[in-house]
Symmetry: D2
Subunit: 357 residues, 4 copies
């Protein structure tokens, strides 16, 4: 869809959660988007400025009212619909909106998998619209840019998967790491749990607390492993451990990998480092939203919060023969709303950074 | 009740909130108390160790099971019952427990007021057991120690009132400050809101947030003003502004007061400082749980968290003619569970610090 | 200076602190500014991208190197110089830069006072450039916009003063509050203490801590009282208590005021509320960076963090006869760097929101 | 040293850091210890109550003054000396104190290694007292209790090593996991960095930040690998990644392990789980300070903060063939001061929990 309209009408369904709120923020000030509808059953009738006072300085926030979600109204109001809904619910909107001629960018997990069986295994229910799975494009711009540009239905990746796939995929494609034995150890801020009234996410339950959860088979494994397997040309199974840490935003991921070439001597280590440097530069050297750290710097969530940037650094450990790769991102931006807008820009041929820096 | 039993059987009704949890912690290790029953509808059947893993090292925590609250069972199990229940609910337990011969230490607001009309005005409902109001003793040990020692029903003070009354009462009794124009500006940690599933108290809604709430007529004003008026011998009305700040525990209160004597010269200021020093020393110099700060030190919640101590410091401001008094306490201890146990110790003639340091 | 150059060359002296960092961020992306020089002795020779990785996505951040501060080089590089230096040091740069023909926007306290005696009293040293005090304009745009537009030397207000003056000045000018007895009780995030290696501001000393400091005579009183006195036409002395709370950014101020008209009846209270509403609407209804809250909403720092907006709400308390006014701002933006850029926009006739939303 | 004196005189050298502060707290209230001396060059002459207001309620804190460290005075004042000093410095105190007849419990890294070469490799300097290395006992009570009971010099383990070794050693001794390929991924609160004025540990640099550091060859690897190798009877090399997270206290460690027996069928998995359960029960079932979590519970630092307890849970992942073991501890207690006091109790035949619960 390589046009370059000066402005595209967009709508957000389910705009009261944390990702939805970030979508509202980004789209309100996007130079090529006009936010014409936002839906939320509980906020219906209220203005965006009322629900999100921090956006009240934007004139549009004063005028735009939340409405109950309605397919016809949405299709009339916007060309592109962002879905920020729970999994299972998103699919029930995507199908009729596509039929009504809209393009859909879905932030839920509903269309991230190619396999309905995989969905059933990890989400514990039948997929509500399996006929759309093959068409949906996994919206990781740095990897699937060409497909995104022509998509009707974009499945925007999960927050953890983004932080794991972007550092991993170039290494797997280059064949420089073994595809077995991969470990991804991640820490996420509490906004990753969504804005829901749950004792587990009260301030006093999260502050001064560090804990793992959802192990050993977190749902995000399904999309991570599908993408890795596709890149590797064979089934890839990884270990993934998410932890909850007391920050609002940010994911830090530490990957434990084994290179396919040995590096027991300094010369071999130096050569391997050069290869890694070349692989990452080729993959991301021109990417506006991936930052390859140099020298002693290591990823730190405070350096990416509020941005659509993912940081990457790596270290070889000659003592253990392992390669460590670390990444940091804002789970609500590069891990959710920012990446969705990045796909929107690609879809419409806008500059990829439009509305994002 | 000046006996000194080596051990008294106690029970806690409503032991699943933050104050209840602290009561459990304190009473499990109290040398003169034997915790025989803890009730909680939602945790009924589970052990204390299961619900509060951090107490699991105490053998009793492995053995003690939460039960549904039952008056007869409670009266059979314990001589003293601590109520950590919502206001309105507490009164419905207190009355029958007293009839059954128990002594009751109530951490709710139900028996803190002498006036049922006052209760109605501030709590928006008729008092459920007005006949008990005159008997109940306001459980501020440093002020009402003698009455506490003989009480059947102790109304343990609120967290904000404790942080305001302890610094204020000696000054009012001494007549050294005007009783009009008093301002109390307080900041509380989030545990003050209780353990309840409410969006307002999610980690991401409190972290990196500072806000006032409940102004200008917070419910705690009712007990603060009743106590101040009793001490002053006339009606006292104060200004009180609570703020929520992102810490788990702790209340810091800043009081703005006007001395009854002028201090425009250094000599007068010095004399007034001496008077204040003497008043506070006489009031609290021998108190185990009030710390009068010397020199440049100012109260800091981090120095009282986890303790039953309230810190006090003051400053005269010759520019404005005002006296500033500051206090810090742990809202769950000196502001709730710790103070209740302090009253328990007084009630039974145990050393007042028993189980508290 | 009512031109409208498409782009003005600007420099920042002392760009390694928190306010300096925010200036860098704002000016790097300002559509009408070209950041040509940033100085910092400790970072000299390094790029902005190296020191502030979070700005590395901006191409200019890769190219711009920190330099040692040098008057000639600065005067050659830029028309407008922002000084983000400690008080006392700033003045030593301002004087020669003005002589060299630059305009200066100073974020320190050096030129905020009209009186050198006042400076001596509050800052404990002789003013280093008293001849410039009368010329300097206090850079509070909503109050001194006309003067700012023609200034050579702008003294950007302190963070606390902004949060206190903006809510207070319209009330004082309207004569609706008494000028005696004013109390300002403020809470600030830790960035207000600056980026300096001091045990008091370590994570473990601030986290889970709430404390007052600098009472009763904080330095910011000098500029607050000068501005209030000028507006009132008589000497105004206020009470000001700053507190440190564990957030990165944000100031919440609670003002305790006494209206000049009584409001003991509902009719009077309603009338007074209407007057307050009209006064604030006239003062700030069209201001892009002041948000007057409606209904039940109260200021919350989380709704202004990352923005140049100051929120205001008020409540009348008929029980005490007082007016409470509350404000919230980001201490590094409306309280420092954002406000300085707002003045820059005014100085050059750019849209006032340019580079700020 | 199986006596049971009712009270032993103890001293702390370097009592102004975070671990030193916890030692002061524990020893002030220890029923079998009398704290007779605390040293700190910077606090010399001041009382413990002055420096640590939170301990001021303890009468001894009012009487005990910090002094400059002096070997003779220390040897005269106490039978057991706790050293809470930087590595390198501790050894210079340990040697003369031992000669003077004291027993020494050292919280630094100086005597944790058996090999001076190992010390040189990881600490970058010659060991200052290599003749003491063979005598020193690694003070991990659950592992080396018998040796501790007779030691003259106890090297209390590091915080990370404790969180890694306690979960790992029983598995290695049982031969149930492979000794190659072990990964330890840890998160620590900021107190682990000590109380030192360093920009990296300012509130604003740590709050809302998550980052790895010290990879891939953190100093604590030296003692971890020495202990693991001794248990395995062969050289063990592991991968260790520490992360800094914004909490005051607490370490959470996630271990990635490979069982030596396969568990591809449910029957095998069940059998392996039974074996693990038995191994851990035998190792720690009677330990007062190790909590083996049951059911769905996972370690959470908030459940161990303020206690000397280490929590352990494990999960088998049949998808990857790995065993995950997680642990949580308070880095200043079980990871430092608490464990040192536990060793002190063993050394003197006091109940091991004395002063610790």
């Amino acid at each position: 869809m390589n046009c370059s309209d000066s402005s595209v009408r967009v709508a957000i369904v389910g705009a009261s959660g944390y990702s939805g709120e970030e979508l509202v923020r980004l789209l309100l000030r996007h130079p090529n988007a006009q936010l014409t509808a936002v839906t939320s059953r509980q906020n219906s009738g209220l203005t965006v400025a009322h629900i999100f006072p921090k956006f009240a300085s934007q004139p549009a926030a004063q005028l735009l009212h939340f409405t109950d979600p309605n397919i016809e109204a949405l299709a009339g109001a916007a060309e592109v619909i962002f879905l920020a809904l729970p999994h299972g619910v998103a699919a029930s909107f995507a199908a009729p909106l596509l039929e009504a001629g809209c393009r859909v960018i879905d932030l839920s997990a509903d269309f991230r998998l190619k396999s309905a069986a995989n969905y059933r295994e990890f989400y514990g229910q039948e997929h509500p619209a399996p006929h759309l799975l093959s068409e949906a494009v996994y919206g990781l711009p740095e990897i699937h840019r060409a497909q995104i540009s022509n998509a009707r239905l974009i499945a925007s990746p999960g927050c953890y998967p983004t932080s794991i796939l972007l550092p991993l995929l170039p290494l797997i494609k280059a064949g420089i790491i073994q595809t077995s034995g991969i470990i991804a150890d991640s820490m996420s801020g509490v906004s990753g749990a969504g804005r829901k009234a749950d004792l587990d996410y009260l301030f006093c339950e999260c502050n001064e607390s560090v804990r793992a959860y959802g192990i050993p088979k977190h749902r995000h494994l399904s999309e991570i492993e599908e993408q890795l397997s596709a890149a590797a040309g064979k089934k890839v199974i990884i270990q993934f451990t998410p932890h909850l840490v007391p920050v609002n935003r940010g994911i830090l991921t530490t990957l434990y990998l084994t290179p396919t070439v040995p590096f027991s001597t300094p010369v071999e280590e130096c050569a391997l480092n050069d290869s890694l440097s070349r692989i990452y530069s080729e993959a991301y050297g021109s990417e506006p939203f991936v930052r390859l750290l140099q020298g002693k710097a290591l990823p730190d969530t405070k350096n990416v919060i509020g941005t659509n940037t993912l940081e990457i650094a790596w270290r070889l450990d000659s003592r253990t023969g392992r390669l460590l790769v670390l990444s940091a991102e804002d789970n609500l931006l590069k891990g959710a709303a920012g990446q969705a807008v990045q796909s929107f820009n690609i879809l419409h041929g806008f500059p990829e950074i439009s509305g994002l820096i």
